[in-house]
């Protein structure tokens, strides 16, 4: 396409140049002849013209001196052209025959000047070359255009096929996912173009969706698992009571048991709902600056007698009275978090274990740590315990919903805190590192 434009420009410029040169040449020649006529009269002009006509072998120049009626006197044209000149004396015409019959048709550009003697002088130039040039240019242009068109169409076809092929890849991935296979991903060509960026974004989105669906699936599975057994127990209990011939006491015992079953189910249910609410919550509106040390100390105080009953040693170690471990957060959720962590430690650490709750402030960043010297969590399980309902097989017999740590994880996320399960060697250490609070005084 560009080549056609260039060709067109070359053509126009060249043609203008040729036309300009033609005009100049004719004007110069005309001026010379007029001069001869003026000095020597018609006789000298005729002689000069005869000399010129004889001297030129080709027909680059056209001369014709004619009478007022157009009767040719001297020149290399046989007839005065039938075309009338314009007001400035210029005219273009085609010579249909010539003296030596060499060519049939040739274009001429000429100027006619009426002379003082009443004669008419025409000086012109053969424009064959110019018209040839124009013809070549036209052909080239046509060719270039055709080539550009063909290349364009071909390129378009190739490109759109490429485009379609890549769009098709996206479509196929979508179809795979629609068919139920969530692992499908859009291929990335590695070209780093818009398509790759689209593919990368789509894949990130799909990863997230897959994660959410997996999470939901595991919740559903676990709800089914953890609620089915108590529901089933409840059902059997009631059914068996009805089948037998129970007396009042047996009825009472059965109903009491049923109530306990229902409480367990409700507890699991409420825990699930709380986590869902925390996860779906728009944070900050209930946030206020809180001293996490004060909250942790309150929790230790609440649980200390419970630990004591199990011969466990529960201690609290704060950052000192001079330092406030300020955290921007929700009081109730943080209280519940601290309670869950301590509750877990008491529940899973054996009799006589040491459980240490520590709050420290480093560079304005508050840290809550609950460490025990119990059996700990094997490294490979540490990540999964944060998921809902995960209870290691060894702990299945202990009471609880198994949702304690998942709730802690959800609260940590809501507060932008980093939750880490570390090896206390021996035992487990859960560390919650909060985001820096602007009002926190530097650690003394």
């Amino acid at each position: 396409m560009l080549s056609s434009v260039v060709l067109g420009l070359v053509f126009v410029t060249t043609a203008t140049l040729i036309d300009h040169q033609t005009v100049t040449a004719i004007n110069t020649e005309m001026a010379g002849l007029q001069d001869i006529h003026q000095r020597g009269g018609p006789g000298a002009l005729v002689k000069a013209l005869e000399r010129r006509v004889a001297g030129y072998q080709g027909y680059h120049h056209v001369y014709l001196l004619a009478t007022r009626d157009g009767e040719p006197m001297v020149g290399n044209l046989h007839h005065w052209p039938r075309v009338e000149p314009d007001s400035t004396g210029w005219l273009r015409f085609t010579v249909e025959d010539d003296t030596d019959q060499r060519r049939d048709l040739w274009p001429v550009q000429a100027r006619v000047v009426p002379l003082a003697s009443g004669l008419r002088l025409m000086v012109g130039r053969d424009m064959t070359e110019r018209s040839n040039f124009a013809q070549i240019m036209e052909q080239s242009l046509a060719f270039a255009l055709a080539a550009a068109l063909i290349l364009g169409i071909l390129g378009g076809v190739v490109m759109s096929r490429n485009l379609l092929r890549r769009l098709d890849a996206v479509n196929r991935t979508a179809a795979t996912i629609l068919a139920g296979d969530l692992s499908g991903r859009v291929p990335v060509s590695g070209a780093g173009d818009e398509f790759d960026r689209l593919a990368a974004n789509l894949n990130t989105m799909l990863d997230r969706i897959q994660k959410l669906i997996m999470a939901m699936r595991s919740v559903t599975d676990n709800v089914a698992h953890d609620l089915r057994s108590p529901l089933n127990r409840l059902r059997s209990r009631l059914e068996i009571t009805l089948v037998g011939k129970p007396d009042m006491d047996e009825y009472q015992a059965s109903l009491q048991g049923a109530l306990e079953d229902i409480d367990t189910i409700l507890q699991t249910f409420n825990a699930l709902l709380s986590i869902a609410r925390i996860e779906g919550r728009n944070a900050t509106e209930t946030f206020e600056p809180l001293d996490i040390a004060e909250i942790a100390e309150g929790t230790v105080e609440l649980y200390e007698p419970v630990a004591d009953e199990r011969d466990q040693h529960l201690t609290f170690d704060g950052p000192g009275a001079a330092v406030a471990a300020l955290v921007n957060g929700d009081r109730h959720l943080l209280m519940q978090t601290a309670a869950n962590l301590v509750d877990n430690a008491i529940k899973y650490a054996p009799q006589g274990a040491r459980i240490a709750v520590r709050v420290s402030v480093t560079d304005g960043t508050a840290r809550l740590e609950v460490a025990d010297d119990g059996p700990g969590i094997p490294e490979e399980h540490r990540h999964t315990v944060l998921d809902r309902f995960v209870r290691l097989e060894q702990s299945r017999h202990t009471s609880g919903t198994g949702l304690g740590l998942s709730l802690v994880a959800a609260v940590a996320e809501l507060h932008g805190a980093v939750l880490a399960l570390e090896d206390n060697d021996p035992g487990l250490r859960v560390v919650m590192t909060f985001v820096r609070h602007p009002q926190v005084r530097a650690n003394a």
Binding site: Q256, L259, D263, L266, Q267, N270, L273, S274, R277, T286, G298, E301, L302, Y303, P305, V306, D308, E309, H332, M335, Q336, A339, D343, I346, K347, S399, G400, T401, G404
Partner: protein, 225 residues
Amino acid sequence: MRLLVVEDDAEAAAYLVKGLRESGYVVDHADNGMDGLYMATNEPYDAVVLDRMLPRLDGLAVVETLRKAGKQMPVLILSALGEVDARVQGLRAGGDDYLAKPYAFSELLARLEALLRRREGSSQQTRLHVADLDMDLLARTVTRAGRPIVLQPREFRLLEYLMRHAGQVVTRTMLLEHVWDYHFDPQTNVIDVHVSRLRQKIDKDFDTSLIQTVRGAGYRLRGSD
């Protein structure tokens, strides 16, 4: 004692009314907010048990209107919305207590009783007296039959709450809320352990134990009767 139950779920209302009647209350029932408001404004009820989500007039609007009309009877709001925020809304609207569904009937009964009795005791008291137990709220001291009992600050507050509700059933949740300001269920028997510690201190060396366990409900400090 005359109670009004405003609850639109017919079955839930039937159980509630039956349970409350069996506990010795005279109970009326309204199944929508408008009727509930009308009855509460025109009849001398001692307390209202109000569902939060009601047809025709929302529960919160009922409490607000009642309070504007100058009705000061205790209102216990029941709601399926269990979040702390929802609770705060309910109390702000003029409710006296808030109980999330599903609740244990014993819990409702205990809270209702606490609301009905609350107006009798004055908060200006400086001394509490139950049976042979004496508490000086200013000096922070406790004696039983004249013998001093040393209590930790939290034990003191626990005993104070029990004494203020002497003769009433006090549930574990009520203790968690009022003594520890915990609005969630800690899953472990933390309260039982605290109460048993307190019991060790005040009942151990005496023939009658004052702190009684109410099966399936909570605790009760034996009243002066």
